[in-house]
């Protein structure tokens, strides 16, 4: 039987301190996330009091009032996306765990009354209070281990912010491309409609067969269907953006500003990419923090295994019609169990994570190289379209028009040539989308998030494992 006697005062103090910190700490955590982001990107996480997160963000309405560009859409999403807020609350979860770990063990009060069998004897009273000294001693070590966890969550939360911004950019460029794509489809459809008008006029004049009109009409109907599909795609792309920006109701009537920009005339200069990516990688940062946390857990497990479990207390006993007092102590010797199993697990976990850390670094390097290649290739592609193919197609059309003027071809062939020119323009829009998405991917990798894919056919999405608890995963742009 154990009796633990000790004072409650330090316990109450520690508890009060911990609880008082929670609100303050959440802001501290958010600021820490902001600091993590500040060294990596120009993203501006709106500085809001975490306690008013639930309320409407007035900034969003202002942003929505003007036509959206990619960065404005990102700002709306960062302020408004509920998944991101959920991820931010995970900071609170970790903080809670830390607070919990830092709490001191509660004392145990034990009271006992015993009634002898013969009614003559008076009842015996037993009162004891005890506290687990070992837990008390180990509490700071536990708190340290939990504090390392907080770093992990801060990095992951920063990752979630980056992911959201990235996904918004991808979706925005995609939507922008869809808008222009649809315009071109509509122009192509116009050209089919013109063919039908011409065919009908020729038919009216008695110059072509029913068959010729039917052929043109069928082509127009096909074009209408293709345009309708393009329109549907546009709506889907718009809804993707609405989800990411957390918009609903009347807010979804936003418009976009401008068109996909031409690639800058000066070529991308990309060097020292791998060191930069390694340096900024959030995955590596949080894996380091995890290593730290596991290392501390290992230390804790070793300590727990070796330190005898000591409880001290104070015991009072009323016996023989008088009180007897005395301190009390219980020691569990780590004779058989020294927590070897737990230590083994922790050690293996540590080694496993070390390997994963190296694998991750390899993936980060590959990811930045892949993103660089993609950016350079799509830049070249967009330039080729803009500087070579589009002018070439334009010349083809101009020369076709001359052949038309020379009465070598007819209106149908001329309209066909216009459609071929439109096809080239569609190819260019596609190339521009790929270029801007590739730039976003590269920026994302350099800001510290593994993004994009390697290889067009195998589609190995790298870094997927490391993202699973880092908030919404970035969708592949390609």
């Amino acid at each position: 039987m154990r009796t633990e006697r000790t004072t409650r005062i330090p316990v109450v103090l520690a508890l009060a301190l911990a609880v008082g910190c929670v609100s303050h700490s959440r802001r501290e955590d958010v600021d820490a996330v902001r600091a993590v982001l500040a060294t990596r990107t120009e993203l501006d996480l709106v500085d809001r009091d975490p306690d008013t997160w639930q309320q409407e963000e007035p900034h969003v309405r202002e942003l929505l009032a003007q036509p959206l560009d990619a960065e404005r859409a990102v700002r709306i999403a960062l302020a408004n996306n509920r998944d991101l807020r959920a991820a931010m609350y995970e900071l609170g979860i970790a903080r809670g765990a830390l607070v919990q770990a830092g709490l001191l063990p509660n004392p145990t009060l034990e009271a006992e009354v015993r009634f002898p069998e013969d009614q003559v004897e008076p009842p015996q009273y037993d009162v004891g209070i005890a506290i687990d000294i070992t837990a008390l001693i180990l509490a700071p070590i536990r708190a340290e281990a939990a504090a390392a966890r907080i770093d992990v969550v801060r990095y992951r939360t920063a990752g979630a912010v980056l992911d959201l911004a990235y996904r918004v950019r991808l979706a925005f460029f995609r939507y922008q491309a869809s808008v222009q794509h649809l315009e071109l489809m509509q122009t192509a459809q116009e050209s089919y409609a013109a063919s039908v008008t011409a065919a009908r006029a020729l038919h009216e004049a008695g110059n072509v067969r029913d068959l010729d009109v039917s052929i043109e009409e069928a082509a127009l109907e096909q074009a209408r269907i293709d345009t309708a599909r393009a329109e549907l795609e546009l709506y889907d792309d718009r809804e993707r953006l609405n989800v990411l920006m957390g918009l609903y109701g009347h807010e979804v009537s936003w418009e976009i500003a401008g068109r996909l920009a031409d690639p800058p005339s000066e070529p991308l200069v990309l060097d020292e990419l791998e060191p930069r990516a390694i340096e900024t990688s959030l995955e590596l940062a949080w894996t380091r923090a995890e290593l730290e946390a596991i290392g501390r857990s290992l230390g804790l497990a070793r300590a727990e295994g070796l330190v005898p479990d000591i409880a001290v207390g104070f015991h009072a006993e009323y016996d023989e019609e008088r009180w007897e007092y005395g301190p009390e102590m219980a020691i569990t010797f780590p004779f058989f169990s020294q927590g070897q199993g737990t230590v083994l697990s922790r050690e293996a976990e540590l080694e496993s994570l070390r390997e994963r850390y190296v694998a991750l670094a390899v993936a980060v390097r590959a990811s930045v190289r892949a993103a660089r290649n993609r950016a350079l290739t799509t830049e070249l592609l967009a330039h080729r379209y803009r500087e070579v193919l589009i002018p070439a197609r334009t010349r083809v059309f101009e020369q076709t028009l001359r052949q038309y003027n020379a009465m070598q071809i007819d209106v149908f062939r001329l309209l066909q040539a216009k459609r071929e020119q439109i096809d080239a323009a569609r190819g260019y829009i596609e190339a521009l989308r790929e270029y801007w998405q590739a730039r976003a991917t590269l920026d994302q990798v350099l800001a510290g998030r593994v993004a994009g894919t390697i290889g067009p056919d195998v589609e190995i999405e790298i870094g997927a494992r490391t993202r699973e608890s880092g908030g919404p995963t970035a969708s592949s742009p390609h």
């Binding site: 011409a198 020729l202 004049a205 110059n207 020369q399 003027n405 009465m407 071809i409 209106v411 216009k418």
Partner: protein, 464 residues
């Protein structure tokens, strides 16, 4: 003003400079501008087009010195020169160089042709019965060649069929042909090695052998025309020898109207035109306006007078010659042209939709939504197409005709003019005919309509 009107006006303004140059050139040829008696010097500005090749303005005055004392006059081949002779030991010696060269078919259309002495057809070879001629042939083509003397009766080894009668002349080498001219007549010469390519590119020419004394009535004018057909796509610069059917450029003596040099003859004069056809594939029905002619010979010889019959059109088959003769009675500018309508059409595209009768007002606004430059063409017919000044493929004169005294002449290609004048020896061969007052079809006046009981607004009724 619609776009078409605007464009035509613009084109005409640009032609003013050219008209001035033409006038200056005429002034040097005797006829005085402004002289009431002189023929009208120039067409109204509204009918002129750019002429980079002035070879037909003015036309040549043929040499009429008899080829031998008391013999016939020499032949004249419009737009084409003659092979010069040098007499060596009593033999007429000439030199033909066959090579690629740049040939102008008409202003705005040039092509890399193959021909003799930088001419297609090659220079007119002209001799007299009894002559012995020696022709050296230097081959500067990238492939071997030979020359066949089409219609001439000669030693077999001189006949020029590659492989059959001789070894082909390799590039860079000079071969020698020696021909006795036994028979008078109109003959031709052409490549007989890889004929398909070399004839399509222009390796053809005419060969006239005069009798020492005229056979039949003496003629006052003796012209030589050679027909040809080419495939030159607008925007290209070389005739396509692979074409078999769809030719789009048609020429007399290598020139398309308006670059064909007109033939000036006098009223009451007897004129001979020797027409040879070495087109790759097509016969040409050649039609002469304002005259009746007789076919007096072929490359096979002369037709006895009793066997000749009157004609206004004669089909000249591929590889054949028709010699026609006529006496002019009516002064004026008379067309002579191939009567196949597409053969007086320059660079017509034949694989296009029929636009005649199509409502452009319906089509154009719709097409302009995607192609702002669009304009329907040919909806009211195609006569004006050649006057439209729109951006065209380089080196092309699609649908292009030439200037006329009253308006634009919408015939191009295989077309030229026989100019019949009272004073043929002094008239300007380039000038247009001055019609007597009231002798030109003109708009009927209201009084004329009334006096003749014509109501143009009355419903048309079929006259049965």
């Amino acid at each position: 003003m619609n776009r078409r009107d605007f464009l035509v006006t613009g084109a005409l303004a640009g032609a003013a400079l050219v008209a001035e140059r033409a006038q200056a050139q005429h002034a040097g040829h005797g006829a005085q501008p402004g002289d009431a008696a002189a023929p009208r010097e120039r067409a109204p500005d509204a009918t002129r087009i750019e002429q980079s090749d002035r070879s037909w303005v003015p036309a040549q005055r043929p040499d009429r010195t008899p080829v031998v004392p008391g013999g016939p006059i020499p032949a004249h081949m419009p737009n084409v020169g003659k092979l010069p002779w040098r007499i060596v030991g009593g033999v007429k010696v000439g030199h033909l160089v066959v090579e690629p060269f740049d040939h102008e078919f008409a202003p705005g259309l040039r092509a890399r042709c193959w021909g003799y002495n930088r001419s297609t057809p090659g220079p007119l070879i002209e001799g007299v019965v009894g002559d012995r001629v020696r022709v050296f042939v230097t081959n500067r083509l990238p492939e071997p060649t030979t020359i066949h003397w089409h219609g001439l009766v000669l030693p077999n080894g001189m006949d020029g069929v590659s492989g059959l009668n001789q070894r082909p002349i390799p590039p860079g080498e000079t071969y020698k042909y020696e021909l006795p001219l036994r028979d008078a007549g109109t003959f031709m010469y052409h490549s007989h090695h890889d004929e398909m390519t070399q004839i399509a590119l222009g390796c053809v020419g005419m060969f006239v052998v005069h009798p020492r004394r005229p056979i039949g009535p003496r003629v006052d004018n003796d012209f030589v025309l050679m027909t040809h057909e080419w495939r030159i796509d607008p925007g290209t610069g070389r005739p396509d020898p692979n074409e078999m059917l769809d030719f789009n450029v048609f020429t007399f003596n290598g020139k398309a109207f308006p670059s064909t040099e007109p033939m000036l003859v006098g009223v009451g004069e007897r004129t001979r035109i020797r027409i040879g056809n070495l087109s790759p594939m097509t016969s040409h029905p050649i039609h002469l306006h304002g005259h009746h002619f007789r076919i007096t010979g072929t490359d096979g010889g002369f037709i006895p007078e009793g066997a000749q019959w009157p004609e206004t059109t004669t089909i000249v088959p591929v590889g054949a010659v028709r010699v026609i003769e006529f006496v002019s009675t009516e002064p004026g500018d008379w067309a002579i042209h191939c009567h196949m309508t597409h053969h007086v059409m320059m660079q017509m595209g034949h694989d296009i939709s029929n636009m005649v009768g199509v409502d452009a007002g319906e089509v154009d606004p719709r097409v302009r939504r995607v192609i702002p430059e669009y304009m329907s063409m040919g909806t009211t017919g195609m006569g004006e197409m050649g006057t439209m000044d729109m951006p065209l493929p380089p080196n092309s004169i699609p649908m292009r005709g030439g200037p006329g005294p009253f308006s634009y002449i919408d015939m191009g290609g295989m077309m030229t003019i026989v100019k019949v004048r009272e004073n043929a020896r002094t008239a300007d061969p380039a000038a247009w005919y001055q019609h007597p007052r009231g002798a030109v079809s003109e708009r009927a006046t209201a009084a004329e309509l009334r006096d003749n009981g014509i109501d143009p607004d009355r419903d048309t009724r079929r006259t049965d």
